[in-house]
Amino acid sequence: MNTWNYLTDPALRSLFWPPLVAGLSIALFGGALSIFVVLKRMAFIGQGISHAAFGGIGVAYVLGLGGAASPAGYAGQLGIVFVFCLLAAMQVGFLTSDRATRAGRGGTQSDTAIGIVLVASMALGSLLLHQAERLGRAPTVSWESLLFGSIVSVTWNDAWASLLVACVVLGAIIAVRRPLMFWAFDEHAAAGFGVPVQRLRLMLLILLALATVTAMRLAGVVLATAMLVLPAAAAVQFARDARGAAVLTMVFAVVGVLAGVVLSFEFDVPTGASIVLTLATIFGVGWTRARLSRG
């Protein structure tokens, strides 16, 4: 029982608690955001944002902030990645908005644009990380860790940052939950009732960028988005109303993270992949159950 040893052994506790605190914080804000990502069909936008993070990581390493251990260096690294994610969020957010559609830049073109942002950011990140190696600023963690996350790379800095982001995201969502829900459910009608739809879209994109940057360390660039989609996607398979869906979303997100962290410690497998596969399994069970119950 590796997990038990990590929990009880004073020497190992410091390796266990940061990822657990970070993971549970990610579960809270990822779960809350996933409700709106699923309802608003923004999963692909999330993909674009998370892949833009890879470009931001490349810039951070070239600037020598990649492996910075000091709080200032850490904040600088996260700041650069956040700016990259935010720019990507603004771009894909605009391209998928009603305004872009009216201007003739919507529809399938927006999908294409998100796809371009996604691969261009990955390419830029790859290029810059190679450049960082030449400059003697090679990543202190493996590329696999950057892409798919690594539990050993999670520090107390990450844990506190995750907790702070969880407070910000949950606070913002709770404060505007009613107009946000109306917007996510029926944007066109919500605008007709005076809901500030553009401001809400902007707010959600900023929160998504913030969440992606924060979740990246535990789940990796590729899998961070999964935390923003899978909890609600799985909950929808079981719930009959929005309140039930919200409760199940948070439960599944926490269960997914706990299971992922425990599996990671027990079997020495990547944390991000474990979390995603746990949530995907819950989704698969719910999907099968829903199909069978319909006959």
Binding site: A184, H188, F193, A242
Partner: protein, 303 residues
Amino acid sequence: MSEVRPALDAPSAPPDRGAVISLRDVWFTYPRGEGPALRGVSLDVGAGERLGILGPNGGGKSTFLKLALGLLRPQQGVIEVLGLSPAEAARRRLIGYVPQRVEAELSFPITARHAASMAANLGLGAWESAKRNRARVDRMLDLVGAMSFAQTPVGELSGGQLQRVMIARALAGEPRILLLDEPTVGIDPSGQRQFSELLQRLHQELKLTTVVVSHDLRTVAATSDRVACLAQTLHYHDSPTGLTPAVLAEVFRHDAAAIFGDLHVDAHRASECAHDHGAGHDTRAPAPGRQADGSRTSAGGTS
């Protein structure tokens, strides 16, 4: 009746203070539009009136609707809703808007009751309980005949049922004006008849000003006391019974006798039938632009 009427309201005239919706010489052109979507439209909608906006696709109906909701601003002219800017009126939820379709992810489990409460709940503070609005939402669901499926997820509702929920959502916010966009698109004839009856019942109970925007002649005729035909400018502007094939040909730019021949007769019947049901317009003050005996005194439009 077939001639395009000139604007009788001077474009620069101030908005009619008795009108709940007032447009004065409104022009709007989309950034990439080939020409103006609306050209010098002047129109007043009176309190308690049932107005139908009829016109072809691309005739400016949706633009009118977006302007009235404050989603667009005219490049020229004035629009007032209850004496306020349309955006302010929308913020105060004075307009109950029923869109043509719901754009939501309908597989998400949102019940009909929850959907119907969304507009009303906008008025609640972040920490106020939605239970405060529960009785009002349920009353509106009952009024539109949606109480039996209040707990059903919206994804499991038929088009007609979903439309009733959207009407309940609009009404639960206690608006002064009900604005419906193409309300009978995708609904079968039986559903369309039920919809017309529902609107009549709502009008009798709530005495709301109702504006129905549609390209469907029968829908407009069956739900309106007055019709404004819109094809960039305002053409015909009077009782639906006066919509002759010649008028329709002018608005829709087709041989209306060929395409609307039967429809015109149907629309005429629908309109008379609606009025026989007691739409209540004889108990109200005459609509702006009409005398008490129903004769027309003015019509907007500049072409």
